[in-house]
Symmetry: C2
Subunit: 87 residues, 2 copies
């Protein structure tokens, strides 16, 4: 039974570029209905790496932004646009 | 006498995410009328690093994308949008 993927909570949003990236990855994962494990698998990255990115721990490289956006079927720049609903 | 900043040539555009970043940095440098040296100074990065980024050599980190976008007075995501004029 696959784990349910939940929408990121707005009060978890960290207002920074890392926070924007983290929030957007979680939002697009939710929209694609895929877990961190599945995203990691599609990106050929480690699940713990994806988890750390979503917790704003890593200074992600352009190459990994591209891998993640490919896996989420969005354009790389879309991952850096501050979420509208959070102002 | 400051060096003239030239508009990036379209035939120098490398079609990749690094190429998009490189092209946009050069385009916004041109629009701001600032040299690589001046951009590097504003970012507190080395001039040779900026030069390498513009030649698609580096896998730039999110932190440096932010520094560069701040210095160019654009939003970070704008540096990753493929230039319209190049399709």
């Amino acid at each position: 039974m696959p784990k349910r993927v939940s929408r990121p909570k707005q009060d978890q949003f960290e207002k920074s570029l890392r926070g924007t990236l983290a929030y957007n990855i979680r939002l697009f994962r939710f929209e694609n209905g895929i877990s961190q494990e599945e995203l990691a698998f599609r990106c050929e990255l480690d699940r713990t790496y994806i988890s750390a990115v979503e917790r704003c721990i890593w200074n992600v490289s352009l190459g990994n932004i591209e891998k993640i956006s490919d896996a989420l079927k969005v354009e790389p720049w879309q991952l850096l646009v501050p979420p509208k609903e959070l102002g």
